[in-house]
């Protein structure tokens, strides 16, 4: 009988099925590790797995191990909703991280709100945290803030009329709308507004049209994936010498490789400290966190860190911090602790939440970067 019990226990342990009796902190995540949004979800999933392992090696939270239940929703909002339900109802997690895209986030959000489980999203749209929902937080900057950062720089350079060329994918379309919404506050006018499909192979006609528009002083390209790289190459081929701005959607070394260092030379975009980890000043508050994450991730997976993985890093840090301050695993207490987060330094910025701010970042967290000689140089 005893052998049987032992075997059964060993079997349970081997299957990774832990009964609720075990003192263990269960975190849930639904990420787009495969599918069209995998460039977001893959580094996010890798980051979470790495951090959970590191955390447990260091003794978990107050001696209790953390278990991560991770599902791959493939970027499908319908699947994300099912997985969120599963995380809450079946896996009984105490908090959810995830929603790599705005679509999947909006699906998970309703489950988290209904069941009163704290949820930290990794997606960009403003609509996730505006209006504020009690149990929903997010780590990335909003696309609105990216627009504001870019327009601040444009205004400082005396630019008044710009052309925009935006991707029609979720990211590009959302940022295009936000930029058009805030542009007036900076005394800037959009005189040309073009779009391209996410799979288009040549954007020369749109760029030619922008170049031919009277009075254009700079060009902005909201979008992610390969589109912006093609726009950048076309821009270079056409010999347009106006200041060129990209979005935070392409803030990675892979973009420079794809577009070519020549073509990307001199373009500016808002990025996070992660891109200039080696250049951060000694007294930069983010220096230690950013450099540690970069070193760990690159050692663990042999690939470059990305801004998106950084969002997951920050979400995990926020949740862990909240759990240890909540002094237990009651989801409502964790939510309260999350909302009370103050001055937590992450890779994206320094987070301070409040009852009416569930993003907790300001514009200073964005750094305006310029590409020079195939590398990133901060301009502000």
């Amino acid at each position: 009988m005893k052998t049987l019990t032992t075997t059964a226990l060993a079997l349970i342990a081997a299957l990774g099925v832990a009964g609720p009796g075990l003192a263990e902190i269960r975190l849930g995540a639904s990420l787009s590790a495969t599918g069209p949004a995998s460039f977001l979800g893959d580094p996010e999933a890798k980051t979470l797995e790495m951090m959970v392992e590191a955390r447990n090696a260091a003794g978990g939270i107050d001696g209790e191990p953390v278990e991560l239940v991770l599902y791959d929703d493939g970027g499908d909002p319908n699947k994300a909703l099912t997985f969120a339900t599963r995380l809450v109802e079946d896996d009984e997690v105490v908090a959810i991280i995830g929603g790599s895209t705005t679509g999947t986030t909006m699906s998970i959000l309703s489950v988290a709100e209904d069941n009163e489980i704290p949820f930290v999203s990794l997606a960009g749209a403003v609509s996730i945290i505006d209006p504020v929902r009690p149990f929903v937080f997010k780590t990335p900057h909003t696309d609105r803030m990216a627009c504001e950062k870019i327009f601040t720089d444009m205004a400082a350079r005396g630019i008044e009329k710009i052309g925009m060329i935006s991707g029609t994918d979720g990211f590009g379309a959302s940022m295009q709308a936000q930029c058009k919404d805030v542009v007036g506050q900076f005394g800037i006018e959009i005189v040309a507004d073009e779009t391209y499909g996410p799979k288009d192979a040549d954007m020369t006609p749109q760029l030619t049209k922008i170049r031919g528009t009277e009075g254009v002083q700079a060009v902005l390209n909201p979008g992610f994936g390969q589109g912006p790289a093609i726009v950048t190459r076309n821009y270079h081929q056409l010999g347009i010498d106006l200041p060129f701005y990209q979005s935070h959607g392409v803030a990675s070394d892979a973009f420079i490789e794809l577009a070519g260092a020549d073509a990307a030379e001199g373009l500016r975009l808002p990025g996070t400290a992660l891109l200039i980890a080696g250049q951060l000043a000694e007294d930069d508050p983010q220096r230690a966190v950013v450099q540690a994450y970069k070193a760990e991730f690159e050692a663990a997976y042999g690939m470059e860190v990305s801004t998106f993985g950084g969002y997951a890093h920050d979400a995990f840090a926020l949740v862990i911090d909240a759990i240890s301050r909540a002094g237990g695993t009651d989801p409502a207490a964790i939510r309260d602790a999350l909302e009370a987060t103050s001055g937590l330094v992450g890779t994206t910025g320094t987070y301070s939440f409040s009852a009416d701010d569930h993003l907790g970042l300001d514009l200073s967290a964005f750094r305006l970067l310029e590409i020079r000689d195939g590398g990133w140089v901060p301009v502000d």
Partner: protein
């Protein structure tokens, strides 16, 4: 008294839907159940089109998209009650199917597959690009139909998952009943005749083009209602619902379970909805296992799981 095949099938379906919740360990299973019923409903439409009439559509998700966005848009913009929005979606889908199908279904062969493929992609593109109306690729929220609150007032308290389980289960039963009735009707027999041979069907006086168009229109209504149900229970919808992969999924479910049989097709929906949930343990191999299951079924059970197995069992009994 012996029950006819139709009522036996419906009874089995009813008992499964009604009794399974007794064994559900958590609310998550209600959600999976509701998803299966929604997919099952859409797949019954495919059975009518492909199994009965022998036509192939690769754009049925387009109709699901129309239904879903009707539920999302009509209440806000037209002031319709969400339930009437479902009806509106179904009517629009039927009208569109009729318009798309009318010129094409006069032709023989696979023209419908190609035309519907284009149609499905078109719907998905419109939904992504009409940002002002549909919220673009980021999607838009869907208003709650308020039925749950109505039940609550009547003293029946259900969680969201439970409510949609019963609601979708009921819709599936009605859908299956209608499809089985159609099968047994003169129209159903005419459809099967035309499936067997269009030329032969025409020589015995069947209006082939009109029948095919009818089947296409009816199946579009099934997809549209399924899309509406999905949108209302998810409370948020993105253009993915009209995506090409969703169309393929519907056809695959039908073919896997047995495209000639309503129960078989529902079973196909069960398998393809459940497998990804079961296979999360082997996340990296999910696609591989799904592919292998499909290839094996096609090779060894070419009529689909249920009809082939039923025939084997019957053969042994004799």
């Amino acid at each position: 008294m012996r029950l006819s095949a139709k009522w036996t099938q419906l009874l089995i379906l009813f008992l499964l839907i009604a009794l399974l919740p007794l064994f559900f360990p958590s609310g998550y299973y209600f959600r999976v159940g509701a998803l299966i019923f929604v997919n099952g409903l859409a797949v019954i439409g495919i059975v009518i089109l492909t199994g009965y009439a022998g036509q192939i559509s690769l754009g049925h998700a387009g109709f699901a998209g129309i239904g879903a966005y009707a539920s999302a848009l009509a209440p806000g913009h037209l002031g319709l009650h969400p339930l009437l929005a479902v009806v509106l979606g179904a009517l629009v889908s039927a009208a569109v199917a009729w318009l798309v199908g009318r010129p094409i279904l006069r032709l023989k062969g696979y023209y419908l597959a190609v035309a519907s493929l284009g149609f499905g992609i078109l719907v998905a593109m419109v939904l992504s690009n009409e940002r002002a109306l549909t919220g673009g690729p980021d999607g838009m929220p869907v208003p709650d139909p308020g039925l749950r609150d109505l039940l609550k007032d009547l003293g029946l308290k259900l969680t969201g998952g439970e409510f949609w389980y019963w609601c979708c289960g009921l819709c599936l039963l009605i859908g299956a009943w209608a499809a089985l009735n159609l099968q047994a009707s003169p129209t159903g027999r005419a459809l099967r005749a035309l499936h067997g041979s269009e030329v032969a069907a025409r020589t015995v006086g069947i209006d082939v083009a009109r029948l095919k168009l009818q089947a296409f229109t009816i199946s579009a209504v099934y997809a549209s209602v399924a899309g509406s149900l999905l949108a209302m229970q998810n409370r948020f919808i993105t253009p993915d619902v009209a995506g090409f992969m969703h169309s393929i999924e519907m056809v695959t479910m039908a073919v896997l379970g047995g495209v000639g049989s309503v129960i078989g097709a529902i079973f196909g929906a069960v398998i393809l909805t459940l497998l990804p949930q079961v296979l999360t343990v082997f996340a990296d191999y999910e696609q591989m296992v799904l592919g292998a299951v499909m290839i094996l079924v096609m090779i060894f059970l070419p009529e689909g799981l249920i009809p082939s197995l039923a025939r084997k069992l019957r053969g042994r009994g004799e």
